[in-house]
Symmetry: D2
Subunit: 340 residues, 4 copies
């Protein structure tokens, strides 16, 4: 059993913790929190040992009925590997402590690429990550782009990609961030940082990305356009997507035409926290014009799509599973992927 510590029990951390707990070859040895909150109660309810950043606050937790297992340093010492799910930029500040205790570490996409030895995506470069001391799971948007681009590239070769990302303004429980009634260019200049970020995983891809922020809370929506090297057909592309185990096709018969309805569907399916771990590619949007010009819309759940990638990254770094397909299969099965 791989002993996993999750440093930062928020939007990503609490999902990683549940995903780790669901795997047959891993266990959660601790999660961390900085102050008493609804999520601290959830950690207790799940039975995860709770470590806190500042041990002086122990009393405030205990007064609230939440037992404290120790401080974060103690948690790190007990772990084989740490998943750092702290807010963007904090991961880099935490790196020295992981190094001090010679612990392997996984960082999230909010960190710069140089925080870790490799920027990771399970389908694209699992094997390169095997045995490394640290990995950065690329951001939700980059993960979503890499999955579809890598799949197209393997099947048909990709000459050039142009993607427009329409991003949610804040997560569903974020009551501070806007905008309320605006479309914000993010940034105004072209390209956005997502293109270069895709190249940290797929360095040979020629890609231009543009991004906007809109007043919604769940799932980004991408338009992806790719010039393919080989001629192909819509059916051939659909077949590639259907056989990909982290791309889900939103079928025409469901009559789903938005992220909101897709979320209702994953909620009805009983997915934990309504999570869409896959890319939600809209079947009806998949188009091939003139044999080589690919288009589609895809929904990317910003809270969820990187979760299975974190699990695979654990196995790659620990070197316990050397076949990417085997790890991906194990992860998916444990999470309970059902065709969307």
């Amino acid at each position: 059993m791989i002993k996993v510590a999750i440093n930062g029990y928020g939007t990503i951390g609490k999902r990683v913790a549940d995903a780790v707990a669901a795997q047959p070859d891993m266990e959660v040895i601790g999660v961390s929190k900085t102050s008493v909150s609804a999520e601290a109660y959830i950690a207790k309810e799940r039975g995860f040992p709770l470590y806190i950043a500042d041990i002086e606050k122990r009393e405030s937790f205990e007064k609230a009925g939440i037992p404290v297992a120790g401080d974060v340093e103690e948690m790190i010492k007990k772990a084989d590997i740490v998943v750092d799910a702290t807010p963007g930029g904090v991961g880099a500040k935490n790196r020295p402590i992981y190094e001090l205790y010679k612990k392997k570490a996984i960082f999230q996409g909010g960190e710069d690429a140089d925080v870790a030895e490799i920027s990771f995506n399970a389908h694209a470069n699992y094997k390169e990550a095997i045995g490394k001391q640290s990995a950065r799971v690329v951001s939700c948007n980059t993960t979503g782009l890499v999955r579809v681009i890598h799949a197209l590239d393997q099947a048909f070769g990709v000459e050039k990609v142009r993607a427009v990302m329409v991003r949610r303004g804040g997560d569903p429980n974020d009551i501070k961030r806007g905008p309320i009634d605006a479309i914000v260019l993010n940034p105004v200049t072209i390209p956005s940082h997502h293109g270069p970020d895709v190249r940290t995983v797929l360095p040979h891809i020629n890609i231009v990305t543009l991004a906007m922020i809109v007043p919604t809370t769940f799932m980004h929506m991408h338009t992806v356009q790719a010039d393919l090297k080989k001629e192909t057909t819509r059916d051939a592309v659909l077949e590639v997507f259907r056989s990909h185990n982290r791309i889900g096709l939103v079928t025409k018969a469901t009559k789903i035409t938005s992220n909101a309805q897709l979320r209702e569907y994953t909620q009805d399916l009983g997915r934990p926290r309504t999570d869409l771990w896959e890319n939600g590619v809209f079947e009806d949007s998949v188009s091939v014009l003139d044999g080589k010009e690919f288009y589609c819309f895809q929904a990317i759940h910003q809270e969820a799509d990187v979760i299975p990638e974190n699990i695979d990254a654990i196995r790659a770094l620990m070197g316990t599973v050397n076949d990417p397909d085997e790890s991906i299969r194990m992860t998916n099965e444990a999470l309970g992927f059902v065709a969307i």
Copy 2:
């Protein structure tokens, strides 16, 4: 086992179906749908026999891989009781068919009060509903108001109630309804219809309500002010709420100050479809001024709070359980209520 048919498998119907299936003394003998959709796939996934309004459409369902058990009339004939969860106003049109087959029927709050023999709330008037042929479970907002007013009235006597309802514009999966950036008076005139609707269950209560619609999708927010007959204290009121099994107190320690964060919490708790079946009364808001003037904020989940009431109404109409507390306890336990 009470044989329950659910006519209309949408926002309310799909939740009632799952709730019925979870009860030890009931079973779902069928659900109905008018056309192929994501929800039709969910019915299939859950294993509920699917009946359709227009049997001519059987082929379109079967082509989509969804088996059809028959038409709605067949479903009704097989049932002991029908829960009508069709859109507001359609229930009244369906009544004759339930009467034709002499089936007991439960309607939702979107219907006028005269659709049924009684307007129902489990805590307020379960006993009066026993053995009746039909009942109307009052709307989400009215249910939320009745619970808190009835509890206060039982404990302290209620002289007068003033409530302001800030309503969500559309459900999370509704992509048509707005507003996008407006506060809409609903209606401009005072009082709104909610006050009179409360009186269909609690006829002796003096109540004035005002309502607005805002651009949010989950949970209404109410301010409730009541002049009490007996002097009391904040602690005494909190005790009444704590001991009420369909009022949940959102504690200060959770740091939750909005419906959005409350929803994240119910989602983290693993509630099916993120449902908040209880009134979400904000503990810190509960106030008693000058001994007799009560105030609080409460969040009401428009998709969920009437679900347990539908279950209790089934037992009351069928006359299988005569003690309201017993039915409420059974319902809550089967749903898996956990203190929020």
Copy 3:
């Protein structure tokens, strides 16, 4: 003086009326309304003779203090030309009456292209419209696309255009339309109808468009990508845009990065109804990659950008001004265009 009737005094009609009134060579001889409303009071306040669709309603108008000049048919008879600004699809139903009285007519982009003899844009095809009996001013989005594509095509030749339109869900005063928290594919299939609509004005352009609807109320946001025939530079493109009198450059120094801030700016400038008649091209977004690949973001004010086009269409149909540049200059000057 050209006698102009405006049939339909709503979002577009009231703006056209003010624009007509501001021109030296035109006058508003009447506007029409179907029922008493805030806009009817505005018509009165502006001093426009008000005609009503159903003369039976005269009393309800007069009771509200709004004088009625007659019915719509009388208005049409008095006009040289009618601008039909009724809701989408109604224009086609109104066409026979304009034909009956042999009146020239201008329709809006909500109508099908075959409603009129020509689909119109002042810079692209003014001369072809001269003397015609009817014209359709293409929709806000199409007008915005045509302006920038035509300008690029004249200067550098356009090989191919790809545009993604992020559309506002409803107008600022629309309290019914959503979505509230969703990104809606509109449609899911690719391309959207905007590409073909651009070709009603610029038939030789190869264009693929994709569209989404988001919860905002003012201005659509477009990403426009074009493969150019001639090599060029960013500076050369900026020069083309700067010299175009219906494209405004949103400069970097303003620090404006969204439609919301752009609107605040036009509001501060004192523009009537905060109108942005020009394309709002973000200067910092204008990019030319590898000499031939053009990108930009542009904001398109859905209520306003077609207004000057309607004015020019009046002159073209009436045949009073034969030089497009002269008409455009007159229109802009009368409206009081100030560089944004």
Copy 4:
């Protein structure tokens, strides 16, 4: 001519500047800005001398084509009175410099009450402010409440007020603030700070307020309930409101039922920046139950309702007009109030 400096040329400051410039007895001798922005261009366009906080930045302004008149200290020295329209809390930090140069100063409602000698509302306490060295114009919400409560109190006597404020999340041009899809209790505890703030102007009023924040951008919506001392009728209350020159009645005939439609109306009326300087009381909502229980809905434009109060406060502090009605009349006339 009173020489007025406006320190802080943002949402409030730019409106105060235009309002001052419109008065016959005042002139704008300068406005201030900290960095180059769209608003700095507007100051230039209006011809207001622009002073900057940090004179080291002069070059960056001049490079952007915006002339700089000097630093803020120079501006203050030239003024008879300073309107401080800096962000909440900054006003208190600016006070010493106004005192140093013995300049009268007006602060905004974002400051604590003790920032100035008096908390000001023109109808309620103009005379008390005459000749004072400093005044705080109370916040938009408090101003809106004071106007209606004071009017009712003068006419009928007010026993008790209960108000619920549904507040906009951010201003129209604010792209950072949310919430996007939440109703936030602000605060959870009851009462909110607005009740005590009303008492800084009307100390004898017994008032309880509750506040929530919703995802809208323009105008707060209030429900106001008051127990009156004298029995009265709806018509008598309407008469009081009709004769009040800073309360506007939104009539039934306009069919306006929301803040969004009210804003469209003020925009159509040609109000500068779409400003609603008055309370927008919905005529149809004005109710008197049982002779003594008053209710209404009112819309309060957060950017605008304090503007005329700032103008009156200037005259009161300067002591140039001793009759409140005379000042209010002058202010309204210069702004061009038209009955809404």
